[in-house]
């Protein structure tokens, strides 16, 4: 076992950190919670791309750097630590690019990966539907073959990044006669396609970060089918293992954590045993979550796809995020209820924003219940329910 980083890795961390500190110093953006999923900043994405930090682990022939998963861990950990606005490229970098790399044709790899890596192609996800949440395999959006094209009809919901995305990674039913897991395919759909419309929805935090997508006879050329026809459900399971694999679940609200600790010190609140006990407990829980996240990377470095390991990490970490937000509000007392923009608001209103936002964390990318099912059956070998 080795919990350390190499000198080279430490230098890379320092490089990323210096870059982000400079960005903040220049006033390009302000650290924010959830910025990996809600911070849309094309200029920042371009500057990150310029450094070669999108698609870091992909082969060089597709615009990547061929670097290790540990390097990507370091990069994303620092992005999250500083609350950097990385939402434009996050999904493509984290999972869609990987899906294209794992299942896509050579043509798709050449068309998309270098553009993602240059920060020119943003992706949103078209997975959930109004009637298909945890039971994703029951999705109803249809893709019907029509010569060289598929025609897609249906509705997707909770699509993040929808107003910025150039493309969507869409799962649609291609064989309605087959058992539901075996009739789904994965497509890349151009966001400008005729018949595709987006309607934003406002979430509980008051943010328009998600949208409904409506497909009305949207035509997609067959070459934009990722992987094999009707194998989409198996591909999405693979992709979800990666969607859950990162540090965003434990560090998505790191700016709040840092701020509330600082606030408690400055206002001498932490001299109260009850306050410092709560903060120390958060620190303990954070460290455990960090290690569960690191373990996922360690599994990937061993050449394996993380499965129950990332399910465990994500299920654990989203509960941590809820406690972090709640403890922060408790410590802030009556000021804790003040929302961003209010007079007298402490910590830029991060605490109530996180408190409300964290209700969704344990639902995105697999509910905690689904994740525990995965851990119990795939990880521990318990019989299917």
């Amino acid at each position: 076992m080795d919990f350390g980083f190499t000198d080279e890795q430490n230098r890379f961390r320092h490089e990323v950190r210096s870059f982000l500190e400079e960005e903040i110093e220049k006033g390009h953006w302000e650290p924010a919670c959830d910025a990996w999923i809600q911070g849309f900043n094309p200029e920042f994405t371009r500057r990150v791309a310029h450094r070669g930090w999108i698609g870091l682990t992909w082969p060089e022939e597709y615009g990547g750097q061929g670097r290790s998963h540990t390097d990507r861990l370091i990069l994303t950990e620092e992005m999250l630590r500083f609350g950097a606005p990385a939402a434009c490229h996050w999904f493509a970098d984290r999972q869609v690019g990987g899906a294209i790399l794992s299942f896509g044709s050579e043509e798709l790899k050449r068309e998309f990966l270098p553009r993602i890596a240059r920060g020119e192609a943003y992706f949103g996800l078209g997975m959930s539907e109004p009637g298909a949440g945890s039971d994703l395999a029951s999705l109803q959006t249809r893709a019907v073959e029509d010569g060289d094209y598929y025609t897609i009809n249906g509705q997707k919901t909770w699509t993040s990044c929808a107003y910025f995305a150039h493309y969507f990674d869409v799962y649609a039913r291609t064989d309605p006669e087959a058992p539901k897991h075996r009739g789904i395919s994965e497509f890349i759909v151009d966001a400008r396609s005729p018949g595709l419309s987006r309607i934003p929805m406002t979430d509980i935090t008051g943010t328009e970060a998600w949208s409904d997508l409506f497909f009305d006879n949207v035509r997609v050329h067959k070459k934009y089918l990722i992987g094999q026809k009707d194998r989409g459900f198996y591909q999405v399971l693979h992709q979800l293992d990666y969607e859950r694999s990162g540090m965003e679940r434990i560090m998505g609200n790191y700016p709040l954590f840092e701020a509330v600790v600082q606030f408690s010190k400055e206002n001498q609140l932490s001299l109260q045993p009850a306050v410092r006990s709560k903060l120390a407990q958060l620190e303990i829980e954070f460290e455990v979550g960090r290690l569960l996240g690191y373990r996922v990377t360690s599994v990937m470095e061993d050449g394996k796809t993380p499965n129950w390991e990332s399910a465990m990490s994500k299920a654990y970490s989203t509960e941590f995020e809820k406690r972090l937000a709640n403890v922060s509000m408790e410590i802030l007392g009556p000021y804790g209820q003040l929302m961003s923009g209010s007079r007298l608001v402490p910590l830029r209103g991060m605490a109530p924003h996180s408190y409300l936002g964290s209700k969704g964390y344990s639902l995105q990318a697999g509910t905690t219940e689904i994740l525990k099912n995965i851990l119990a059956t795939r990880g521990l070998g318990l019989p299917a329910a």
Binding site: D2, E283, I284, E301, A315
Partner: protein, 375 residues
């Protein structure tokens, strides 16, 4: 960064598992727990022959020269099998302290005997009252009189005092009024001990020193260093206790998952019920969090990195996580788990004792808070 055991550590783990499965069955544990000494000299000698007592003692004292991280692997297996006896006292509390703070002469005097299984050591640290696990709480006095320190006072919860050859004793010296660690010989008429019956099934004693003279040459690390010596003892012991507990709760998880697969109610294995599955998932998460935070602390100790924060995190997490794991294990095992005929109680009792030993979660939360600069 690689959070899996190395090939060598896997081999050590397998060898330890095989040996303990063979020699340390639950029937054996039961028998030893019920015996007068709570200790099998025969097993102790077998362990010495395997090189376990000297695993991380340098080769010049007869040991294997391996690292604390390797010892962590061995301790995990010992915790898994509920191994009874004075390994923890002798190696973790005794030999590692001498290695850390002893003079060359002291190392040569004590370590080869430990490695050969001939010497049993223990540590007299806790005292009556409710102090913290830190050097500042020590009150038992050792008064310098010529070339001897004369120890008087009562130490509590001293493990294996009845079979120890030497007791490492944390004292407050007079007239300097500083903390020091002295090596006292057992068997002197000025030391008496009385057993305490404890939940963990280990052997804990009240030890009374009545003007016991100890030569000043038995001072570990000099008079000004005692406080740091004691703090490092507690740090190593806390991590080592966590290592045992990793083995404990890993085994509890496995027993529980196995039982959930076999036990049928309503015509199906109870492990197919989602509520049981989620209990097991929660247990696995607690176990893995405990494993990773424990091994992180052990790795830092073996690299001689400052690790007060990481040790505190590991022990605080372990205390509460192990309790949650054990509680769910009992819930899933149902009534059979609360009978003495089942093996679960061995783990339940040891886990509670380990939670208390060398500081509980409240104690270590204060340490973490201090490391965060909160007070």
């Amino acid at each position: 960064m690689r959070l899996a055991l190395t090939e060598e550590q896997e081999m050590l783990k397998r060898a330890a598992r095989d040996f303990l499965d063979d020699k340390c069955s639950k029937a054996f544990v039961r028998q030893v727990e019920d015996s007068e000494t709570g200790f099998s000299r025969e097993l102790w000698q077998d362990m010495a022959e395997l090189g376990w007592m000297g695993l991380i003692v340098p080769e010049q004292y007869g040991g294997g020269g391996m690292s604390f991280l390797d010892l962590a692997v061995l301790l995990e297996e010992m915790g898994r099998s509920c191994l009874p006896g004075p390994f923890f006292s002798t190696v973790v509390l005794g030999a590692l302290t001498i290695l850390d703070a002893g003079s060359e002469q002291q190392k040569q005097e004590y370590l080869p005997g430990v490695v050969r299984g001939e010497k049993i050591l223990t540590l007299a640290l806790d005292e009556p009252g409710f102090g913290g696990y830190d050097a500042g709480s020590i009150k038992v006095e050792a008064t310098l009189d010529g070339h001897n320190y004369c120890i008087t006072g009562t130490k509590l919860f001293v493990p294996d005092a009845h079979i120890a050859d030497h007791l490492l004793c944390a004292v407050r010296t007079k007239p300097e009024n500083v903390i020091a660690a002295l090596v006292a010989d057992a068997g002197s008429p000025q030391i008496s001990h009385a057993p305490l019956k404890s939940i963990g099934g280990d052997r804990l004693y009240e030890v009374v020193f009545d003007r016991l003279p100890v030569p000043e040459t038995r001072l570990l690390g000099g008079v000004s260093q005692g406080s740091m010596v004691v703090d490092r003892i507690v740090q190593r012991a806390a991590v080592a206790k966590c290592c045992e507990m990793v083995g404990n709760i890993q085994r509890v998880l496995e027993m529980t998952v196995d039982y959930a697969k076999e036990r049928k109610q309503f015509d199906r294995p109870i492990g197919s019920f989602q509520v049981i599955q989620h209990y097991c998932a929660d247990m696995a998460t607690d176990v893995d969090g405990a494993r990773l935070s424990t091994y992180q602390a052990a790795w830092m100790l073996s690299q001689a990195l400052p690790c007060a924060r990481e040790v505190a995190i590991a022990k605080a997490w372990m205390g509460e996580a192990s309790r949650r794991v054990i509680d769910l294990a009992h819930q899933i095992h149902g009534a059979i788990g609360v009978s003495m005929e089942h093996d679960l109680h061995f783990y339940t009792r040891r886990a509670k004792a380990a939670e208390i030993a060398f500081g509980d979660a409240d104690f270590y939360r204060e340490v973490v808070a201090r490391e965060m600069g909160l007070w």
